[in-house]
């Protein structure tokens, strides 16, 4: 299916760059977690970069991204700079949200990254609202909402999909089916084989399954769905099959997954696959190596900036609850 819509060489390289930046960032984030610099928790997106890159490459600058606590990839893919993201992971005052949100809540409204949500399923109805707002304002914006396979079994998923379909809002729902919730296989707690696609008909939607490790295939379904939504044809539900390379979060080694399964998916790593394809198409090795080196340099530079960032000013503890900048609840 890939290749039916034309994608420029530049766009392909841009998506490759996005994937490499995400991977490089996440690998460093993991090390920094083990070093104790990243506090609390992190949920890495290693292995799932093709979904983020393929979709981001199909979005307009003013489109909206809604994603989960496993949201670094999606935030980076929208062009949010790395340094404030690292700083947020470190809990610094220079963090993307001043240290108030942390890894699970990365948000950069300026880049259309409308938030990372840590309660499974909660952001689906919120994305419906953003899409409804775009529809009402006739702005032509589309809301793209990413979530995991596990989220398909929570009530908010059902309510959001139905409302989106009834109101025909410009929203694209993307289930990143990485086969697992935290430590439990999605198949063991779901009544159907494809947790998202097999539910599409329940909302009058088409069942769309895509190889989530093929950035071009992802990009193609993304463009089709986003363009249709923008044209007023209503929402779409897409299930992208993928796999997280590591554990669920923090120090989880992911031992609950059969070795053979892990190996099979590692062999289908989206980044080397796309690299090989680009080389086969005549992109020079040096050009790819340069992208990779730039990503490494960018991550290192961002880390350095973030390390130098100040601790949060204690005064910010009580700021920005309300629009007046403060948090007074009484006189």
């Amino acid at each position: 299916m890939a290749g039916e819509l034309s994608v420029s060489r530049d766009a392909r390289l841009a998506m490759y760059r996005t994937m490499v930046e995400c991977r490089t960032f996440e690998e460093r984030a993991q090390q920094l977690f083990f070093e104790g610099l990243v506090r609390g928790t992190t949920h890495l997106g290693n292995g799932q970069e093709a979904v983020a890159a393929g979709f981001a490459g199909a979005m307009r600058a003013d489109d909206y991204t809604f994603c989960t606590y496993r949201g670094h990839n999606h935030t980076l893919a929208r062009g949010v700079p790395m340094a404030p993201i690292f700083a947020e992971l470190f809990g610094r005052g220079s963090g993307l949200m001043g240290g108030k949100g942390g890894s699970m809540h990365l948000t950069s409204v300026e880049h259309g990254a409308m938030g990372s949500y840590a309660i499974v399923g909660a952001h689906l109805p919120i994305a419906v609202g953003a899409a409804w707002s775009a529809q009402y304002r006739k702005s032509g914006q589309v809301a793209v909402c990413f979530f995991g396979d596990g989220a398909t079994n929570i009530g908010a998923f059902h309510e959001a999909l139905n409302l989106a379909a009834v109101w025909r809002v410009p929203a694209v729902f993307v289930c990143e089916n990485n086969q697992y919730m935290e430590y439990t296989a999605i198949g063991s707690v779901t009544a159907v084989e494809r947790p998202a696609a097999d539910r599409a008909a329940a909302y009058g939607l088409e069942a769309i399954v895509v190889d989530g490790n093929d950035v071009r295939a992802v990009h193609e379904v993304a463009r089709t769905a986003i363009d249709a939504a923008r044209a007023g044809d209503g929402p779409a539900l897409i299930e992208a099959l993928t796999y997280r390379h590591g554990g669920h979060s923090r120090a989880d080694p992911g031992k609950y997954r059969p070795d053979a399964e892990v190996q099979a998916w590692l062999a289908r790593d989206p980044i080397p696959a796309e690299r090989a394809r680009l080389l086969a198409e005549g992109v020079r090795e040096a050009e790819l190596a340069r992208i990779e080196a730039e990503a490494t340099a960018a991550v290192a530079a961002a880390e350095a900036i973030a390390r130098d960032g100040p601790e949060p000013d204690p005064a910010t503890l009580e700021t920005e609850l309300w629009s007046d900048g403060g948090s007074a609840w009484r006189n």
Binding site: G129, A130, G155, W329
Partner: protein
């Protein structure tokens, strides 16, 4: 001055603001052509049309979530939860998402939204349709909470809630819908966070909210007539922001404080008022701080039991009188 019912004041407040700002939109169950199950939204659909007034499925999480998503992207949405008990179904959206997002994003996201709801007991609807949930919302940092007791305040506080740049929960009391009252002509807005001294007095302060305000006022009249007790009655109007100043000032004058709460006792809003008074007003205290509340049980549907549970004029008056006697 026009005379409106509290019910009509709801629609009037919404209409005033929808007229003023095309970004105000409104969604909920049966709010459109049907005019709402309490007829609080009658006429809005006809006036503002299906783009601005939208019926939803029975999907409270989606209603509240959609309101949030719309608010963060430029609209000023209003969502109705038909009965306040249904906040429980969407509590994650309210307490974890709406209340926290501005803070978590360090101010990147603004949520100028209103969630309005029929709150409170007295209509024999039973335990799942009669709760006073204003205290649930009051406890969550990031939510403003309004609970008017008169048609004029209903209209004016609704308008203020819609204009407010932050999330506001508007609790409309079911038992007050039929109450009539004067409403000022022209644009009317009552600022959030200002309590109202509904009746001045010097012997004690009675703090009440919504449907308990008329009861507290009537009890105060009886106390004056029957026992020569001069009770000051404060209509809180807004729980957050809380007008603690008005309460503490009144307490400084009277030395005695009572709260009248329709909710079950434990952690009703009065507990917070009392905990403020017991600290900052300590030097003013001439007597124990007394909370008059429903007992710690769900609300029964039988008239006899429901009436017994909610603070009545008699119970308020008798409690105040007895406690004042004891303290003498």
């Amino acid at each position: 001055m026009a005379e409106l019912t509290y019910r009509q004041a709801v629609a009037a407040g919404i209409a005033q603001e929808m007229d003023r700002d095309p970004l105000v939109v409104f969604i909920g169950e049966d709010i459109g052509a049907a005019g709402g199950v309490f007829k609080t939204t009658e006429g809005l659909f006809e006036r503002f049309g299906p783009e601005r007034i939208r019926d939803t499925p029975i999907s409270e999480q989606a209603i509240v979530g959609a309101v949030m998503g719309a608010a963060m992207t430029g609209l000023r949405p209003i969502g109705e939860l038909m009965f306040s008990d249904f906040f429980a179904v969407a509590w994650d959206m309210v307490a974890n998402q709406i209340a926290k997002t501005r803070y978590m994003t360090d101010g990147q996201v603004s949520l100028p939204l209103v969630l309005r709801t029929a709150n409170g007991g007295g209509l024999r609807f039973g335990a799942q349709h009669s709760q006073s949930v204003e205290s649930w919302a009051m406890a969550i940092p990031g939510l403003k909470v309004v609970a008017p007791s008169t048609p004029a305040d209903m209209l004016g506080l609704m308008a203020a809630a819609i204009r407010d740049p932050d999330p506001v929960i508007v609790c409309e009391h079911k038992a007050l819908f039929a109450v009539k009252g004067e409403v000022p002509d022209g644009e009317h807005v009552v600022p959030l966070g200002q309590a109202r001294i509904a009746r001045p007095g010097s012997d004690c302060t009675i703090v009440a909210l919504a449907a308990m305000v008329p009861r507290a006022l009537e009890a105060a009249e009886r106390l004056a007539a029957e026992a020569g007790i001069s009770a000051e009655v404060i209509d809180l109007r807004t729980l957050i922001p809380l007008d603690a100043r008005t309460i503490l000032d009144s307490l400084a004058r009277t030395g005695r404080l009572f709260t009248v709460e329709e909710n079950p006792r434990v952690l009703g809003w009065g507990a917070e008022i009392v905990s403020i008074a017991a600290d900052e007003g300590f030097d003013s205290l001439d007597a124990p701080l007394v909370r008059i509340t429903a007992p710690q049980v769900p609300l029964a549907s039988a008239a006899v039991l429901e009436d017994l549970a909610m603070p009545s004029v008699e119970r308020i008056a008798a409690t105040v009188r007895r406690r004042l006697d004891e303290a003498r």
